[in-house]
């Protein structure tokens, strides 16, 4: 259906000059969108004396800023913290959100709707309302300034559960019945039979969770107090304050925080765009 739509649109818009103008404007707009990124990278390759030079391509590019920023190991530590937190939370969401979504989609039991509505209702509660109780809870239980403290609020999400439920509803019951007849237990049926059938949804969920946690700022800022446990965004923010007007160093730090997600995007572009579309439409 979508190729048909495309062909039609192609035919409809054969008016040449208009198309060329539209294309040019779109292209210029796109370049403007990435200008902040280009300047960030460009300045990170300039020495302190060249920062005021507006040229996008540095006259004498140098990696000295990167060497300086990385030399004391702080950024590596923050990088590791962010990666550990984002990966763990993503794995947890892929496991639990799928399991709960599957249970709510494929099992028939009293209280199912109640559980579903209860979970869904948590979408209405903003994080900002929960951070104060979370903070007090963490301080009582000794979770402040720990990896678990950063991670625990996001281990399961209603959004992910809802997304996975939507997709599991599209899995034919016959597949699951056949597996049941073969004597597989319910956990194995979910993990080995149902999960492989919804891989697009899993990748959408994984991408969203990873990105959200990699860029998360508010809660990590609150729960961490020692430098060693900062995540990359919080670490970068404190680093930038400390550098005050050394913009080439701040740009280098910002570039370091951005490079990982850009690399992920380069490799998984198609999955990411499709994942965002899937999550946006179904969620």
């Amino acid at each position: 259906m979508s190729t048909q739509t495309n062909e039609l649109r192609l035919n409809r818009s054969r008016i040449r000059p208009g198309r060329i103008i539209a294309w040019t404007l779109l292209f210029i707009g796109g370049l403007l969108m990435v200008t902040p990124l280009l300047y960030m990278f460009s300045t990170s390759l300039k020495s302190a004396g060249q920062v005021y030079d507006l040229r996008l391509i540095p006259l004498e590019p140098t990696f000295n800023n990167y060497i300086k920023v990385l030399s004391d190991g702080r950024f590596m530590r923050w990088f590791f913290n962010s990666a550990l937190v984002a990966v763990t939370v993503t794995l947890s969401n892929v496991f639990f959100d799928s399991l709960v979504g599957y249970t709510l989609a494929k099992f028939d039991f009293r209280g199912r709707n109640l559980v579903f509505i209860a979970i869904l209702s948590t979408l209405m509660i903003p994080t900002e309302m929960l951070v104060i109780p979370w903070y007090l809870m963490s301080s009582k239980l000794g979770w402040l300034d720990s990896y678990w403290g950063i991670m625990f609020p996001g281990m399961m999400t209603a959004f992910g559960t809802f997304l996975m439920k939507q997709f599991f509803e599209g899995v034919p019951d016959d597949f699951l019945e056949a597996a049941r007849v073969d004597g597989l237990n319910e956990f194995t049926i979910w993990w080995k039979v149902a999960m492989p059938l919804v891989t697009p949804a899993i990748s959408a969920l994984a991408i969203f969770t990873f990105l959200g946690n990699w860029t998360a700022f508010f809660w990590p800022l609150i729960v961490t107090t020692s430098r060693e446990l900062y995540t990359l965004p919080v670490g970068l923010s404190s680093f930038a304050v400390e550098q005050s007007i050394q913009w080439e160093m701040i740009m280098t730090g910002a570039a370091l925080a951005t490079i990982p997600t850009l690399l992920v995007f380069l490799f998984f572009q198609r999955y990411i765009v499709r994942g965002v579309m899937l999550a946006g439409l179904k969620g």
Binding site: M33, P36, L37, P233, A254, T258, V276
Partner: protein, 312 residues
Amino acid sequence: MATTAQTSSQGATRKGRTGFKLSLHGRKVVWAWTFLALPIVFYCWIRFYPTLSAFWMSLTDWDLLRPANFVGLANYQKLFADPLFWKVFGNTFLYLIIGTPISLVLSFVIAYYLDRVRFMHGLIRALYFLPFLTTAAALAWVWRWFYQPIPIGVFNDILAMLGFPAQPFLRSTTQALPSILVTGIWAGLGFQIIIFMAGLRAIPSTYYEAARVDGLGDWAILTKITLPLLKPTTVFLVVFSSIGFLRIFDQVYNMTTNDPGGPLNSTKPLVLMIYQTAFSSFQMGYAAAQTVVLFTILLAVSLLQLWVMRKR
């Protein structure tokens, strides 16, 4: 991994204990509750209990030092009598009322034309989408640098080159909020464009064919077919983006670190006020009352969405 083993062994013992008397249906019910056990604990402990606790705290004078006393609605009275709150409320509303329409119109126009472009489609789409993948806290610093005075700031250098007077941007009580808002719009635009494009793709081509047979022009097709059929996507994005602007924090915090929410509170949104009340002055009860107000506003926006969707 440990949890996997735990869940399955828990299921096994329960099944063993009840034996083979259970019907297939009964066994499935046991499995269902086994799967849900840990998540139910999680949602009760990490979502529902803290929610109730926030409501309760908002009725106390808790400040971390002394035990909490019940003070009724005193925090709310104090809040609604506080000129800072109304300033902050106004700022938050400005972020919402300017940010949402601009970002929606921009993203729709871009998505509409991008959808028809074939030449280098993937590259152009990637250019628009990339900012969405960046860390808001990091890129806020890039924008902050752009807004610096001559000779550091890029914007002022460009203005000077074109012969315009330099602008204070983040140092002005009137320009700071729009300057931060531009950063916020920029950061969210890519996502909205992608969602609009998905919505456009989902419109069946038969509608367009029929319209062309009837001799409708591009404009008529846009207003009579595309926009009405796109309504669910638009409503979703209006709500999504409104909630985003009502909760703006990362950009404001990082672009005004020397005086968070400044100059003179002219950029301070509600979430930054909550953050400072709770984690700089440790007035937990008062901050909790502010979060309840935020919750009420967000709830109203979501209910409005449901209402609009139902009327369709």
